[in-house]
Amino acid sequence: MEQAPPDPERLLQPAPLEPLGNPDAGLESVVVEEADRPRDEGSGDGTMTENNFWLKKIEISVSEAEKRTGRNAMNMQETYTAYLIETRSVEHTDGQSVLTDSLWRRYSEFELLRNYLLVCYPHIVVPPLPEKRAEFVWHKLSADNMDPDFVERRRIGLENFLLRVASHPILCRDKIFYLFLTQEGNWKETVNETGFQLKADSRLKALNATFRVKNPDKRFTELKHYGDELQSVISHLLRVRARVADRLYGVYKVHGNYGRVFSEWSAIEKEMGDGLQSAGHHMDVYASSIDDILEDEEHYADQLKEYLFYAEALRAVCRKHELMQYDLEMAAQDLASKKQQCEELATGTVRTFSLKGMTTKLFGQETPEQREARIKVLEDQISEGEQQLKSKNLEGREFVKNAWADIERFKEQKNRDLKEALISYAVMQISMCKKGIQVWTNAKECFSKM
């Protein structure tokens, strides 16, 4: 190891503070060695190796939503929506899927699951939940949480969340997740027993806390920046899209007025009457066609929203990394100052002004025994600190390695998903144009007969 016994020459140097993620850093060999160990160390007792492959045999769906009334912790009446989660075993003798479990969960339980995952897998870009409240709505959409359309979109979103977790190479092996799908009662208690809340670093919760990291990892800085930008651009996009939808809705609906007026006008015309009447009908069709079009578009908006929230998950990983780097640097700094003290004691020179220096001057030299004892104490602390630093370094490297692997996975997934989303958006637009052409061609036909 490079952390050799204190070498007087090196002691004067500041502790190595290379960024955690630097692949050229000296501890490469250790990392390779460590790679053989289960990677998801962070998940701790949650890992279920025996379940490593169960995800391949199972289908998950959120098949139903139901409005319920109950009492909350404050014993107040509350209304909430429960979602039916069904799991089916696919690998059955005749290839038919068989229902293995079905249970009800509410949104807050999904939230608990996700919070648990966030704490236990800080190096993973944890899939986001669908929005708690409808955001980026335009006038026709209801912002009501109990609105059937909203509940339905959330049902799809929750199902998507479960599928994302289930298809994640690491998260899918989590025991709590497995129990979430299979054990209705006592699940909350089981989650809380893992003590994940204790592991949660409260510093991470302070959303805007920035830690003065001296030596940030460029990759993570860039990623964090990307996360910020992505979040702002998607939210801008969603805002404008909502307005675009609103206006488009207006354009179509106002055309509906032609339907009525043409029909009324046709009553007083002789030759033109029939043409006007049927053209009016096509205008009605045109006006009502927008409802379906915009409903489909809402699906696209949901896809974008997922990535809006993914951006936040990305930032969470970056924040965690930043925090670890910060801790590492603090430990290194601490170690360096201890080493300096030790050296001062050993050589009798005072490099910096200190209280000890003052007391020495005022009360005379300590006895050699005293000094030896203090040096001893410091040396113990130093070696402890070095151990700590070493383990922090290891931990950090491990984190970076795992996090980066997951980020790479995430990037691929993102590119694939968003491309698909764009394609389906384009397809929606094409179908809207075709519908428009159809309706106006029909109307033109009617006008031409006038």
Binding site: H236, V251, M272, N415, A426, C433, K444
Partner: protein
């Protein structure tokens, strides 16, 4: 006017005559003052109704229902008052597509144009700035083989008030005919710039249409005043000469305006009156719908223009996704351009035709009223004769003359109405088909744009 619906008809006639500005009254300030100088209570009422209607219209911008006939009073108001808030939405017209209406009109004129011997066009508007006033003149080019025209071709410059003079002259000298409407004289100040390119172009087209309608008319096109209007070097001199004639004819029409009830208005004319009421009402609604659609489309356009670039901003962040996102951005840009073209075309081609027909219905109503007056005159005389019948065995000559006059009137008007119905049918067929075409064209452009980016998106996908 806001009272009983059918009675609205007789009361508007005298107004439109009385409100007609004297052709010579203040040649410099005519456009500014004109018929508005003595607003009648009815007119004011109509205004306030219209204002209220349009205010409502704006206060609830997300209400897409446009009422067509809530109460007769308010809708009549809307039809009399050519929506002040409408006009041409500022800054949306592009001169590039302005020739399409002209082409359409010319095509349309050629349908029965085989025996045509008179061609008139209005073009080349010019702004004149004098110390007293600023106005626009238009060049009127006439080509004709008719004997009344000494030269094969004339070119004169006329301003709006000259057109107005011509129309008044036609109304006086051809009282039995339906005179095509002129574009509205007044625009609400501050809403539309009278000297803006779009406004002048819209008016030029309307004036051109006005002259073409007269040119097409078998009687009006031979009118002496029309001839003068097309050929006279100095129209003002001629205007002064014509003064005496005006007062005479004016009086003869005016003195029978009493509230006389017709005994038997021929059914066909009664039906036309009712038809026109509904027609104008429906057109007024269509006009408002069309304007509202354009307004919504422009707002949609504003949002689209912001929407597209967001994808570009996003693409700057991405690697693999950059191209697809940029593609979507460009695509939205193309759709915006297509939408702008659509709104411009609708503003330039669709709305003016509606306006013309709304005004036409007013012209028609006023000529119907004159017809009623002539009939009233005849009936009154006939009644008087009936009283004295025992004394004199023969119907006096002046009553016969009166009857002739009425019958001539009926025949002229009937022919004009038939012609008008025919034109109307053709015009609206073309107008509405044009609307459909423009929308189809718009969707086709958008379709092309979106279809073109699909391969871009998919190709990348497969390449991976």
């Amino acid at each position: 006017m806001s009272g009983g619906p059918p009675k609205a008809l007789p009361s508007t006639g005298p107004h439109s005559l009385r409100d007609m500005p004297h052709p010579l009254a203040g040649s410099s300030s005519e456009e500014a003052v004109g018929g508005d100088s003595t607003p009648s209570p009815d007119l004011l009422m109509a205004r306030s109704f219209g204002d209220k209607a349009s205010a409502l219209f704006h206060q609830t911008p997300r209400e897409f229902h446009i009422c067509s006939a809530a109460s007769d009073g308010s809708t009549k108001a809307c039809q009399d008052l050519i929506l002040p808030n409408g006009g041409t939405p500022a800054g949306t017209s592009s001169p590039a597509s302005s020739s399409s209406l002209l082409n359409r009109l010319q095509l349309d004129d050629d349908i029965d144009g085989e025996t045509r011997d008179l061609f008139v066009t209005v073009d080349d508007p010019k702004k004149h700035v004098c110390t007293m006033e600023t106005y626009i003149t238009y060049r009127i080019t006439t080509k004709s083989t008719r004997v009344e025209f000494d030269l094969p071709e004339y070119s004169v410059r006329r301003r709006y008030q000259d057109f107005d003079w011509l129309r008044n002259k036609l109304e006086e000298s051809q009282p039995t005919h339906l005179i095509p409407p002129l574009p509205e004289k007044f625009v609400v100040k501050g809403v539309v710039d009278r000297f803006s390119e779009e406004f002048v172009e819209t008016r030029r087209k309307a004036l051109d249409k006005f002259l073409k309608r007269i040119t097409d008319h078998p009687v009006l096109s031979f009118n002496e005043h029309f001839h003068v209007f097309l050929t006279a070097k100095d129209l003002n001199a001629y205007k002064k000469q014509g003064m005496a004639l005006l007062t005479r004819v004016g009086e003869s029409v005016k003195h029978v305006t009493g509230g006389y009830k017709l005994r038997s208005r021929p059914l066909e004319f009664a039906a036309v009156g009712e038809y026109l009421d509904t027609f104008a009402l429906k057109l007024g609604t269509i006009d408002r719908i069309a304007q509202r659609i354009i307004k919504e489309e422009i707002e949609y356009l504003v949002e689209l223009r912001e929407y597209g670039p967001v994808y570009s901003t996003w693409s700057a962040l991405e690697g693999e996704l950059a191209e697809p996102l940029e593609g979507v951005s460009a695509c939205i840009g193309n759709c915006s351009a297509a939408l702008e073209e659509l709104t411009d075309d609708m503003t330039e081609d669709f709305l003016p035709v509606l306006r013309e027909y709304i005004l036409y219905s007013d012209s028609m109503k006023s000529v119907l009223k004159k017809r009623d007056q002539v009939q009233a005159e005849y009936e009154a005389k006939l009644e008087a004769v009936a009283v004295r019948k025992e004394e004199r065995p023969k119907v006096p000559a002046d009553v016969e003359k009166c009857q002739d006059r009425m019958e001539c009137f009926n025949a002229d008007l009937k022919a004009d109405m038939e012609r008008w119905q025919n034109n109307k049918r053709q015009d609206f067929r073309q107008l509405l088909m044009g609307m459909a075409d423009k929308n189809i064209h718009y969707y086709e452009k958008c379709l092309m744009a979106w279809e073109s980016i699909i391969p871009l998106l998919q190709e990348r996908q497969e390449a991976k």
